[in-house]
């Protein structure tokens, strides 16, 4: 068939037909189809990435020609108190948030997997924090954490749990971190719960019946059937969440701006403050590149994992 129509395509006037011929061949159609995406990603992802590397190695300052200064930015950052604090914050924030999201996510998924009334509505309600613009919902949280009118403090005081006036959530070091983590858990929990629920649904019921027949109680069934079979889903969810929690910007920016005294700054917010607000582009780029090793690890783990699954 291909040979026959190629002859037709050789008629001089029919350039259109020849083009159509070419597009019918995978060798040409494939590259043609990926070109638009490739152009976007080269110009607006690969190129900026190279530029980030260049900036981080230079003394670039907004509106001034720059020179390469080697690894000075990366080294100098370690003598910066704010950066050292940020480095520590990033791990505390990510570690605690992901742990909470995982434990609460598994619990919530197990509950949603039960016989429920209004199942669809329940799912809808649980997923809501994840779809609403984070910057806006975080504003709601910052009102709830307000130093004078905090609804938590009011409730706590009236229930008798807190002594008036209650903690100044966003103004004290550890409380501020707790607040930022709470909002992150609130916003990320739906992703964990719904994804783990999808994993739970795919576990064959026969396994549980067999387990029950062998005398395994609910705990044993969870430990020996549910958890091992959920492992792939859990691994993917944790990896995803790690990279996006580590690089979080919106919550900290809206809630605390990194304060009080840098105690909630993350790489993204500090890099914006130093790179844009005080104009030290080179330093700012170096800070955001500290996200890169985490990205590399997650990509490596995912690819290894996806490949293992494919075999």
């Amino acid at each position: 068939m291909a040979i026959g129509s190629a002859r037709v395509g050789a008629v001089p006037a029919s350039v259109g037909i020849r083009l159509r011929e070419m597009l019918d061949r995978e060798r040409f159609l494939g590259p043609a189809f990926i070109t638009p995406a490739l152009v976007f990603l080269c110009v607006l992802v690969a190129y900026p990435f190279v530029m980030a590397l260049y900036l981080s190695l230079s003394n670039a300052f907004v509106g001034r020609p720059s020179q390469l200064i080697g690894l000075q930015n990366f080294v100098k950052l370690w003598s910066n108190e704010a950066f050292r604090q940020t480095f520590q914050n990033a791990f505390v924030f990510t570690g605690i948030s992901v742990a909470f999201k995982l434990i609460l996510g598994i619990s919530l998924a197990l509950l949603l997997n039960q016989q429920l009334w209004f199942k669809r509505m329940m799912r809808g309600a649980v997923l809501l924090p994840w779809v609403i613009p984070t910057a806006l919902s975080t504003l709601g949280w910052s009102w709830m954490f307000d130093s004078l009118y905090s609804v938590f403090n009011w409730t706590g005081i009236h229930v008798g749990l807190l002594d008036p006036p209650g903690p100044n959530w966003l103004g004290q070091k550890y409380y501020a971190m707790a607040a930022v983590i709470t909002v992150n858990v609130w916003r990320g929990l739906p992703f964990f719960a719904i994804t783990i629920l999808a994993g739970l649904v795919s576990i064959p019921k026969e396994l549980y019946e067999a387990g029950e027949a062998d005398g395994a109680g609910p705990l044993a069934r969870f430990w020996y059937i549910t958890l091992p079979l959920l492992k792939p889903v859990l691994a993917i969810v944790i990896l995803f969440s790690t990279i996006f929690t580590f690089s979080d910007f919106n919550i900290v920016y809206v809630l605390t701006h990194g304060g009080p005294i840098n105690s909630t700054h993350l790489f993204a917010t500090l890099s914006r403050q130093i790179g844009l607000e005080s104009g030290q582009l080179g330093q700012g780029a170096a800070i955001s590149l500290y996200l890169f090793p985490v990205l590399v690890f997650v990509v490596w783990a995912q690819l290894r994992f996806v490949r293992r699954q494919a075999h």
Binding site: P36, F40, Q114, L128, W143, N250
Partner: protein, 282 residues
């Protein structure tokens, strides 16, 4: 009989009871936001008033202040323009790329697939500084066009990855049949494969819309004039004067800025659920 029947009901009740704290945790912020936006300033800033209820009458004054005394309508219009254009471009580009990755064999296909996956995982906060320079060079500084151009950088990898999964579920044989009957590959794609992958395309559209409506760091960095910024940026930056927060209009803005997403969400809940899991699991 009765005891056998009662046990599942008791168990069911217990499950709902256990679920309650999760529901309160998820929904309370929205409830509190909404009632705050409807309170009069007098009640809002009364330290002895009950913050959980509206006691002194609901009012729409914060909403009218937001709509007529600020540029909120312009910000919302900007958000809509940016979101609609970025979504359309990204889903179109993502669809053809996903088809190529799922179905065609050509030089470099697996490298490109890996590349898409890697960019899918690149957080926006990693590249916003150099991207701001690129935006300057393109002459788009402080323009909503900067956002229309840059949003596809995270939308295209997402759409491609999502749609690739859907295209793989369409059996190859259907397409081959059409081509044996004389359809070209593009005809087969347009008339056979795409209609069968419609749920995937709807999903991609919804998620692309949501992701770009919710985007914050690029919008905050690339635009600053009041006639170019999006709703999220407008509400979080223009309603705060120095250290003074206008909580009434702020909460009204947070509520109204979420409305388009909530409407989509109510109608397409099942797509959200399936897309969320497809993005991560597939």
């Amino acid at each position: 009989m009765a005891t056998v029947r009662r046990r599942p009901v008791a168990r069911r009740l217990l499950m709902h009871l256990l679920l309650l704290p999760f529901l309160v945790f998820a929904l309370f912020p929205f409830y509190h936001m909404t009632i705050t936006s409807l309170k009069s300033d007098q009640e809002l800033y009364d330290r002895y008033a009950v913050p959980l209820l509206i006691r002194q009458g609901a009012t729409l004054e914060h909403y009218s202040k937001l709509l007529w005394d600020t540029a909120f309508l312009t910000w919302t219009k900007n958000s809509l323009v940016v979101t609609l254009l970025a979504t359309t471009v990204s889903v179109a580009v993502g669809t053809v790329a996903a088809y190529a990755l799922a179905r065609l064999k050509f030089f470099g296909v697996s490298t490109f697939g890996t590349g898409i996956f890697v960019t899918y995982l690149v957080p926006t906060s990693l590249l916003f500084l150099p991207l701001a320079q690129v935006v300057n060079w393109l002459g788009l500084a402080d323009s909503k066009w900067a956002l229309i151009v840059t949003y596809p950088t995270f939308l295209i990898p997402f759409c491609t990855w999502l749609l690739m999964g859907y295209f793989r579920t369409v059996p190859k044989e259907v397409e081959e049949c059409a081509m044996v009957d004389g359809a070209t590959r593009i005809q087969a794609l347009m008339r056979i494969v795409l209609p069968m992958a419609i749920p995937g395309v709807v999903c991609a559209l919804l998620f692309a819309f949501t992701l770009s409506w919710n985007e914050f760091i690029y919008a905050l960095t690339f635009t600053s004039s009041s006639d170019q910024i999006t709703a999220s940026v407008g509400v979080t930056s223009e309603l705060v004067r120095g250290d003074i927060f206008y909580w009434g209009p702020l909460m009204a803005g947070a509520v109204l800025g979420s409305v388009p997403i909530v409407i989509l969400y109510v109608f397409f809940l099942d797509y959200y659920v399936s897309g969320l899991t497809a993005g991560a699991v597939k």
